[in-house]
Symmetry: C2
Subunit: 348 residues, 2 copies
């Protein structure tokens, strides 16, 4: 497997990314090549600093960097030599099997959609983020790619999320739920009510509507929603979890008695961190594209990068995109059969 | 002030509600009367059990109870003698100044909209829920009343949320933010992008788009969104906070060393509970109606009920509805002026 990594555009500089790459290479002999894409001089000095001498590493120079607040149009029209664009081009040209970037989501999505195109039958790519919960983990799809969704997009996300949960997270029969404002079948807005009817037709374990209350109670493995709602949920959860943990730290350090208590209970606090580890997956795939593209968090550090590469190799090995193509075709047929009079707006 | 309380329909029975009423009466001599609405025999035995002899308490019999899964149409067409309907009718008939119910939101909203009608100029009522954050608290509006919103509804929520934060939460110059998927002005879906333009015209401290990351970092006092997004956010936050706290308890009780640590640090854990107290407000008002209506959580216990009554009396005392009427009128004029060619769809 050959993986292209956009080493620029992360919050902590390319050295951190290259350190993560080093760990991934040490762990996985099946990686045939890693292309490090970015400013050559920056990469060379980071390689020297990290003492990386692995012959599988190849440097691909790109003169420009997408900033976090650059609009998607900048990626497409202005910064044609951005590390992000060059990374995705390596996949489009068949020189790499997958692309990983820490850069801004809008840019990655625009470039990947343009240069790789969606898989046959897929209407829109979606971002599948794995969110840790106390007793399980769940996939949130779409978590920010497709802001104004149509019902059929949500149905396709249900299919893709089901595949990702089964193939990559090892969930045998993932419970797929549609995020809504109540669990009854008729609850929801116009979009989810229509999507509900489509999801009911699919050959997946669709458990119906789920609400916010269900997310952290091990009741659902794949949560389907539009990219606006998903992005709000993702960021809200991160904000609340981080807020609660920093409040806990602050309160525990307030006086010597509490500090002693915290010292004695430190393994409990570590266990919580382990159970709710946001870096366990390091990257979220853009599912539905004709190529494997992984978006890593802008603030990803070494371990997150290493994990993002691991997830990427697993996504390739499981031939996830081939499975998505097959199952989307079958889903499209089922949806067309169930509504013979008014054809569903899915490409045949 | 005279307050009508629907004592049925909560998760813990009417005894808990009546206990909360008793505490509120003890705290607040300005309450002139509390109407307890529900099955007379249930109420009488609960009053006896709680030794309530306050002459300000009046019992209003209602033979039916709205169930949590009853649809709004049941409230309107079938259960005409529900405690929920009778409670709201007391306000409509001028026999009470405010209504409080723990029952299902859809039913309360349908009944209150039908029997009380919106305030002049207000297009849709919204639910304003106060969410505790580590270093502040914020109003989330709408948190579940208006599922398929129009831009002008969000702009009106911005006005009403601003008033509620200032008058009831004592926030001098509330920071009002539009919940979106990025902080840049152009981020959002079709709805929020249009609402953004309207909010910019308002005479409030509109800070622009906020995202999930901002919610628990003391960056915003009033968060505006449609009822679908708000309801998902509200329930997700509750689920995550409860999940994290039960995980903490579980890990802290796992062995004697951790238990000792937890014992020494117990004041830290109490401080966190105090700082993130979900019962501090007990109820969320339906803002924008011609009458004061408070929705309490179905699982509310004594303290939450007492606090819901406190917030209700404050809402009345501050003449919140009169202020909303005045400021909505001014907002409507501003929006009409800023778009002379294409009139904004706000009633004049």
């Amino acid at each position: 497997m050959r993986i292209a990594v956009d080493v620029m555009g992360g919050d902590h500089g390319c050295g951190v990314v290259i350190e993560g790459v080093k760990r991934a290479l040490a762990n996985d002999p099946k990686i045939a090549a890693i292309h490090l894409v970015g400013r050559q001089e920056d990469i060379q000095s980071a390689l020297t600093a990290a003492s990386v001498t692995d012959p599988r590493v190849q440097v691909v120079h790109a003169s420009e960097v997408m900033a976090m607040d650059d609009k998607p149009t900048v990626a497409l029209r202005k910064k044609k030599d951005s590390s992000m664009a060059r990374t995705i081009e390596l996949v489009a040209e068949g020189k790499a099997d997958a692309a990983i970037s820490l850069g801004n989501t809008g840019g990655i999505l625009a470039l990947a959609t343009l240069k790789l195109r969606p898989l046959p039958g897929v209407e829109r790519a979606g971002i599948a983020t794995v969110i840790p919960a106390p007793d399980n983990e769940f996939v949130l799809l779409d978590s920010g790619a497709n802001i104004d969704c149509k019902p059929v997009h949500l149905a396709q996300y249900a299919v893709m999320g089901h595949i990702y949960s089964r193939e990559i997270l090892g969930c045998q029969k993932p419970r797929v739920g549609l995020l809504s404002i109540g669990t009854e079948d008729n609850k929801g807005n116009e979009l989810t009510q229509e999507a509900f009817k489509l999801c009911k037709q699919l050959d997946i374990n669709f458990i119906g509507n789920v609400e916010g209350y269900d997310l952290f109670k091990n009741r659902v493995d794949v949560v389907i929603c539009d990219g606006f709602v998903g992005n709000v949920v993702l960021k809200t959860c991160e904000s609340l979890a981080v807020g609660m943990i920093s409040m806990l730290k602050e309160e525990l350090s307030r006086n010597p008695k509490r500090q002693l208590g915290a010292y004695l209970a430190q393994n409990a606090l570590r266990a919580i961190k382990r159970r709710m580890d946001p870096e366990a997956y390091g990257g979220a795939p853009l599912l539905g594209l004709n190529g494997t593209v992984m978006k890593a968090h802008g603030s990803a550090r070494e371990r997150a990068i290493m994990n993002a590469i691991r997830i990427t190799t697993e996504t390739i090995q499981h031939q996830t995109n081939q499975i998505i193509t097959d199952e989307i075709r079958r889903a499209t047929e089922r949806l067309a059969e169930s509504k013979p009079a008014v054809p569903v707006t899915v490409p045949a």
